[in-house]
Symmetry: C2
Subunit: 354 residues, 2 copies
């Protein structure tokens, strides 16, 4: 355990995982609002000592009594673990901020992005607050800002999603394929050659190195993927627009970390390019990077490891004065997972301290 | 020179280039409709002997008298060369089929895709017929088929464009960056690291290996790129729909060859998924590859080196019964350049022989 201010007691569940590591980094570098911080992980990972706020903390094994006296629990664990343990933790009196998909679309669980709908954090009948999936988080802060100004009506989204969206297995698979493919000039010219050359496909349904794969998630009705439906459902819920028209095509690209999205957004009101850029430049959590004449636009390689969403290529559609086209990038592990969970937990900490 | 049937005499201008090589391959494998075939290139490349229809042919240097007696000239050369030489060749009586951007948007030059608007090849007051750019060609056969059935109203396109769209320099740059990056696990995790690691950017404004770059072409008004405006202008012209609403975002991905496009298409009439799939499956030049439950969807790695456009992920939009979302791939050097030029030349050959 580690002691800080006299603030609320926090538990980080899944502290030894990929998202957990970013959570600890954020807790060590953001404003210190917590009293005690406890680290929790599966029994397999328990016993290790990790550093938070510059102090060593031993990781406790997941068990009900670990949460006695805890005010807020940040969950960075797989969906099944959240589904099982969140009710256990809330029954001990803690509020759970869950980063998994277990509760996102449950009606009496608010889905909160502090820059967009912070007020929703206060109505949490189950004691659980959910955080959106990484692809939704990459765009929702940008869209929230534009919605407040112009009134959002419709979204057409195409994604360029990183391998790490499929977890450590996705990262390992891409690096292993890159190692095998390297600069081999015999590859990339003949249909099917990559299938033999890249080795294991890992969590992807086709080679990812030197390729793009138009699939993420599970098969749903009508030919949709679960990743595409998540973008639609979660955007509607966070923005509070249950009738919002949303269509998404999710595509995996050979990038390690940082999701990119190409977004066509149609509004109720007429838009102006310069004004929209000014709205975005003034929005917390957003960096405007938009000057093609000077080769300024966001790319995953320039965005990975940073907190904000980066947006560029802001254009007014040539055939619709109420539509904007833009391109944005966000670190899917940081911006798209740990950061939002940490920000929601800070909202709760402020409420508990007030 | 090489002799075939008693058909028209053909000249291939730019025979030693990347597109020229595919043109010769197509001339050797498609139905033999020409009499003599002459090969032409810049004086620098002239004198070499290439194989067409199984016979060796010496490449002649570009000069006006080379075109005496030529009926049809296929141009696979840079825009400036086409702009200078097409009028010279037409003044000698040949019809020019131009693969460059020099004449695509000139009002009295037809822009022809044989599967979509073959009738337009007959009205050619300048003696020039143009072929669309590779990104437009990747989708126009698919859209033409759907337009005939449902009536197209609007397109929202996001591209996943291959390095070879930027020519041999683009191909070399990607392979060199892949060689340098390989499976290095230190790369892809920290902002800016790739900028130092990949070496030269070549024709791209940012690293392409392990990255995606939301830019292709030159800067135009309103923040648009020339590649994005080409898709709009050429789609309207080929489909004969000057008022068609088109918005495109062009993004380069680390794929050697084969462009992919995510397309949201809105129609005048209500669409059905199964019927749209059947329309596409029955369309010449199109292969339907669309069964996600069996991991069937097109990817660049499975499409490179093949002639057709491959289309999959065909879905009816959940919020608009008149809209379809789909993902398609086409070899940008073959399907997107040489093949269409060869098919247009065959239309002309049939007309001259009739």
């Amino acid at each position: 355990m580690t002691r800080g201010t006299g603030g609320p007691t926090l538990a980080v569940v899944g502290a030894t995982g990929a998202v957990g590591a970013v959570m600890l980094d954020l807790l060590s570098t953001r404003r210190n609002v917590y009293g005690e911080i406890r680290l929790v992980a599966s029994p397999r990972s328990a016993g290790r000592t990790l550093t938070v706020r510059g102090e060593p903390v031993e990781v406790a094994a997941l068990a009900p009594e670990v949460f006695d006296g805890v005010d807020i629990a940040m969950f960075g664990v797989p969906e099944a673990v959240s589904a099982e343990w969140a009710p256990v933790v809330t029954s001990r009196g803690a509020v759970v901020v869950d980063n998994s998909g277990a509760f996102r679309m449950v009606p009496d669980v608010p889905l909160v992005v502090p820059e967009v709908n912070p007020e929703r954090v206060r109505r949490r009948p189950r004691g659980i607050v959910a955080s959106p999936s990484c692809a939704t988080l990459s765009m929702i802060v940008v869209l929230g800002a534009l919605h407040r100004r112009y009134g959002l009506r419709e979204l057409v989204v195409s994604s360029y999603q990183a391998a790490s969206g499929a977890g450590q297995d996705g990262i390992d698979t891409l690096y292993e394929q890159m190692e095998k493919v390297g600069g081999d000039r015999a590859l990339g010219n003949r249909a099917g050659d990559l299938r033999g050359a890249v080795g294991e496909f890992g969590p992807f349904p086709a080679p990812l190195a030197l390729n793009v794969v138009p699939w993420a998630g599970e098969v749903r009705d009508g030919g949709w993927s679960s990743a595409e439906l998540k973008i639609r459902d979660e955007s509607r819920k966070v923005l509070g627009l249950p009738e919002l028209r949303v269509t998404a095509t999710c595509v995996r690209v050979p990038v390690v970390t940082a999701h990119s999205l190409s977004v066509h957004a149609v509004f109720k009101e007429r838009v102006e390019q310069r004004e929209a850029q000014a709205v975005l430049a003034a929005s917390p959590g957003v960096v405007l990077c938009d000057n093609p004449a000077f080769q300024e636009f966001p790319t995953p390689a320039d965005v990975v490891g940073t907190d904000p969403v980066w947006v560029g290529r802001v254009r007014r559609s040539l055939d619709d004065p109420k539509a904007l086209d833009l391109f944005l990038c966000g670190d899917n592990l940081r911006n798209g997972a740990a950061l939002n969970t940490a920000q929601v937990a800070e909202l709760l900490a402020a409420e508990l301290t007030a």
